[in-house]
Amino acid sequence: MGLSEILRANLLSPIPLAFALGVVAKLVRSEFTLPRDIYTGLSIYLLFSLGLKGGVELAHASPASIAWPAAATLLLGCITPITTYLVLRRLGRFGVADSAGIAAHYGSVSAVTYIAAMSFTKAVGADAEGFMPTLLALLESPGIHIALAIGAVKTASPDRAVGHVLHEVLTGRTMVLLVGGLVIGALMGEKGWTAIETFYDPKGAVFKGALTLFILEMGVVAGSRLGDLRKVGPFLLGFGIIMPILHGALGVWLGHLAGLSVGGATVLGAMAASASYIAAPPAVRITLPDANPTYYLTAALAITFPFNILLGIPLYYEMARWLAG
C-alpha cells in the first residue's frame, strides 16, 4: 500500500489513538490519570514480556546473525549522544548541562517507541527479526553513560553521585526485566514459553491491551507538558523532530548494512530516533542538576515520542524499503 494509506492505517491504530485520548483528556483539564502503581506495574509487565519473548527467539538465533546488528546498535549508542550534544551545544547554543542532559535521553531508547515500531512492521507485513529485544537491551544504557560522562567532564559537576547513578542505570528496571527476561526466555525454551505465551506474547491481545492503557497514561503525562512547549523555544521544537529523522535514517542505514531485514532496519531506526524517558531523567537530574528538566522531558515526551509513533516510524519504514531497493 502507498505511503498515505500506511500513514492513515498507522494513525488509526490503537497506539496513536490511545495516546491522543490521553492528551485530549489533559486538554479538557480532566483529572483522569492511571494510578502510579498500575502505571509502573504495566511497564514492568511490558518490559518483561519483551525480554521473555526475545529470549525464546534468541535461543534459536545463530550468534553470527546477531553479531553485526548488535555491533550496529552499540555504534548507535555511541554516536547518537555525541551528535545530540554537538547539535545542541554548537547550533542550539545550549549550555553544557542542558546539552549533555538532553543527549542522555536521545542517546538511549524508548521501549514504547520500539514496541510501536514492532507492531507497525508486523502490520505492514514486514516482521522484524526475533532478536530485536536483545538490541533494545543493548541500546538502553551506553548513550546515557556517554552523555553523563561528557557532562561530568565539561562541568565541574559534583561527581559525588555519578558512579552511583551509572550503577543505577545498569541495574534499573528496564535492564533487569529485559536482560533477565532474555536469559529466562532462552533457558526455559519453547515448552516453558507456550505455557505462558498467551499472557506474555508481544503480538498477543493481552500485551496489546495492556500497552493501550499504558500509552493512554503516557498521553496524559505528555499532555501535562504541552504547556511547556512554549517554554522550550523554537530550536528545541525543531530539534525534537529533525534529530529523530537524522538518527532514524542513520539507524536504518546501519541496520541495512548489518544485514537486517526491512522490518528490522525500520525498528532499529525507530530505536535510534527515540528518546528515553524512564531511565534517563532521574540519572540526569542527579548528575546534571543544572540541566533544566523542562527541556529534556518536554523534548523526549511531548515532541519526539508523538512524532515517532505518528509519522516517524512509517518514514523510517519508507527509508528501509528504499535502501532495500
Binding site: 502510579r36 531523567p281 532521574p282 528538566p293 523542562t294
Partner: protein, 100 residues
C-alpha cells in the same frame, strides 16, 4: 515520664534525592529517619519525575547541635538547583540518648 528536647528536621524534596539525602543525613549524625511520600507545589515547579509534583518528606530527629550542619548542607548542595525545603521544630522524646 522523663523526656529530652531534641530537634525534628523535616526536608521536603524531589524523589530522586531520597537515597543521597538519607545517606548524607546519616553521615551528619542522624541515627535514623522517616520518609513519607507526598506531593506539593511551590515556587519552582520543575521535577525530573514524569509524575509532576511528587515529593518525599524526610523527617529526622537529631540533637540541636547537629541541626546547623544539616541546614548548611541542604542550603549549599540542594536549595540552588533542586526543589527542596527544610524546616526545624523542637520535639520532646523519650530515650533521648537513642537519637544522639
Amino acid at each position: 515520664m522523663h523526656t529530652t528536647t531534641l530537634n525534628l528536621v523535616t526536608i521536603i524534596a524531589e524523589p530522586v534525592l531520597e537515597e543521597m539525602l538519607t545517606r548524607e543525613l546519616r553521615q551528619m549524625g542522624a541515627r535514623g529517619f522517616t520518609v513519607t511520600e507526598s506531593r506539593g507545589e511551590g515556587s519552582r515547579g520543575i521535577r525530573a519525575s514524569d509524575v509532576p509534583g511528587q515529593n518525599i518528606r524526610i523527617e529526622v530527629i537529631v540533637a540541636p547541635a547537629v541541626v546547623p550542619a544539616i541546614l548548611a548542607h541542604v542550603s549549599t548542595h540542594y536549595f540552588p538547583q533542586y526543589a527542596v525545603i527544610a524546616f526545624v521544630q523542637a520535639v520532646e522524646v523519650v530515650r533521648g540518648e537513642k537519637y544522639i
